[in-house]
């Protein structure tokens, strides 16, 4: 029985371990927490392997890592770091104001500056994004999931994925693509 589970785990989860750990790092913001979260997520995936019902194994695995990260952070870290619901609410209000206004604002980011950003600057800029924007951005631009998979992992409609992604990219472009004061 558990042998069968191990085989399933290897087939379904193992191919996405590296991505899962990367997501845990982006969500927790530090490596030590990410290791704890990741190990717990793997255990959850192993125990719940029978609940995998086909579809994108990758989305299934990453959604477990994501849920584990939020519950782990909620019980081990200060709530201010993890106020996902508040952030969602904020962001909804934000998105409803109409998104594209700031895209044509006076400070226009430059592609050439964006292209010159180094790893430290990118890390800092991505880390500073609100967590819902950050996870959407990481899943799309770092891990290459399509919109439908991101919707599945983050549990929101595709339209929300699109607006979060556009806002995340816009903020990053503003941060790294305009001249530093």
């Amino acid at each position: 029985m558990s042998d069968y589970r191990k085989v399933s785990f290897d087939r379904i989860v193992t191919p996405y371990l590296a991505e899962g750990f990367a997501l845990a790092q982006w969500l927790s913001g530090n490596r030590a927490d990410a290791e704890d979260i990741f190990q717990e997520a793997c255990l959850r995936a192993f125990r719940g392997i029978d609940s995998y019902a086909g579809g994108s194994a990758r989305a299934w695995v990453l959604s477990i890592v994501r849920r584990t990260a939020y519950s782990w952070l909620a019980s081990n870290r200060s709530p201010s770091l993890v106020a996902i619901d508040d952030l969602s609410a904020n962001e909804c209000a934000y998105a409803e104001q109409g998104g594209s206004g700031d895209i044509v604002s006076s400070a226009t980011p430059e592609a050439a500056l964006i292209a010159k950003a180094d790893a430290a600057r990118l890390n800092a800029a991505i880390g500073a994004l609100p967590v819902t924007f950050r996870e959407t951005f990481v899943l799309r631009d770092m891990q290459g999931l399509d919109y439908r998979e991101i919707a599945e992992v983050t549990g929101v409609p595709v339209g929300t994925v699109m607006s979060r992604l556009a806002r995340a990219r816009h903020r990053l472009m503003m941060t790294i693509g305009t001249q530093q004061p």
């Binding site: 990758r58 109409g98 964006i114 950003a117 631009d141 891990q143 919109y147 990219r169 472009m173």
Partner: protein, 263 residues
């Protein structure tokens, strides 16, 4: 997916559609319409350049890291010893390839098909399957599953859909623009097919992980006006099917081969 946004009068929808366009998430008809809108508007063109610059710099500066060995070991210990055994060992693989080679003619082919069905396929059947796949795609409403001329969109799209993402190179400068990619099925296994253009011709390039030695591009078959060129490089067997003449198809193969080995 097809976002139900009206590009003509939705300012916010515009922004979202541009991202969807860059991400290869629009169907071909919408992609073409949005592409024209972008080309006609310098502000949108600049926005696309910024989004692409962001993606490129992320790709270069923050490439995916492998799972640290100590974590892999911890997971393996937690879950059990099994994780060591997922992939067939090198020896098993070599044995199955050797068996396939010994069993039939057309060694290259069998080496590649041995992954799934060592004894039941022949060179002819795979050639025909490649050309069939190409023709089917020409008849389909959508000849690609991901429509994009950006290799940084097409390559990651394959992640999670097939075991190994193919090399994707940009040959637009040489007159072979990338049009997108799709998943084909050969011998019951999903494989990556890239779609390139040449004037009005379409080239389907299928990449299959393969243990056979490197081989320069050669014409394998010509069936009913469709040509098939095959080569192997870096552990991958490539099959290019098109109604393009064999000379230009070989040129394409050499360009791809050179660009893929360079990158």
């Amino acid at each position: 997916m097809t976002p139900s946004l009206n590009i003509a009068n939705a300012a916010d929808g515009d922004a979202l559609l541009i991202h969807a366009y860059v991400d290869g998430e629009l169907d071909p008809a919408n992609a073409a319409a949005v592409g024209r809108t972008i080309a006609a508007d310098p502000a949108l063109t600049a926005e696309v350049a910024r989004i692409e610059a962001l993606r490129r710099v992320i790709h270069e500066q923050l490439p995916p890291a492998p799972l640290p060995a100590h974590l892999r070991a911890k997971i393996a210990a937690t879950i059990g010893e099994r994780s060591e055994r997922t992939q067939p060992s090198w020896r098993q693989l070599a044995a199955s390839v050797a068996l396939a080679v010994a069993l039939g003619s057309g060694a290259t082919w069998l080496a590649l098909s041995s992954w799934h069905a060592p004894m039941s396929t022949s060179a002819d059947r795979i050639s025909v399957a490649m050309i069939d796949g190409h023709i089917r795609s020409l008849k389909a409403a959508q000849r690609v599953d991901v429509a994009s001329s950006d290799r940084h969109t097409v390559k990651p799209w394959f992640n999670g859909r097939i075991p190994q993402s193919p090399e994707v190179v940009d040959l637009a400068q040489d007159g072979y623009p990338l049009a997108g990619g799709r998943v084909d099925v050969i011998n019951t296994a999903p494989v990556a097919t890239l779609v390139y253009g040449r004037r009005l011709h379409v080239i389907s390039l299928t990449a299959i992980p393969d243990a056979s030695p490197p081989q320069d591009p050669t014409v394998r078959r010509s069936i009913k006006g469709y040509n098939l060129v095959h080569w192997s490089h870096g552990g991958v067997a490539y099959w290019a099917a098109s109604d393009l003449n064999t000379a230009e198809l070989i040129v394409f193969a050499n360009l791809f081969h050179r660009a893929a080995s360079g990158s």
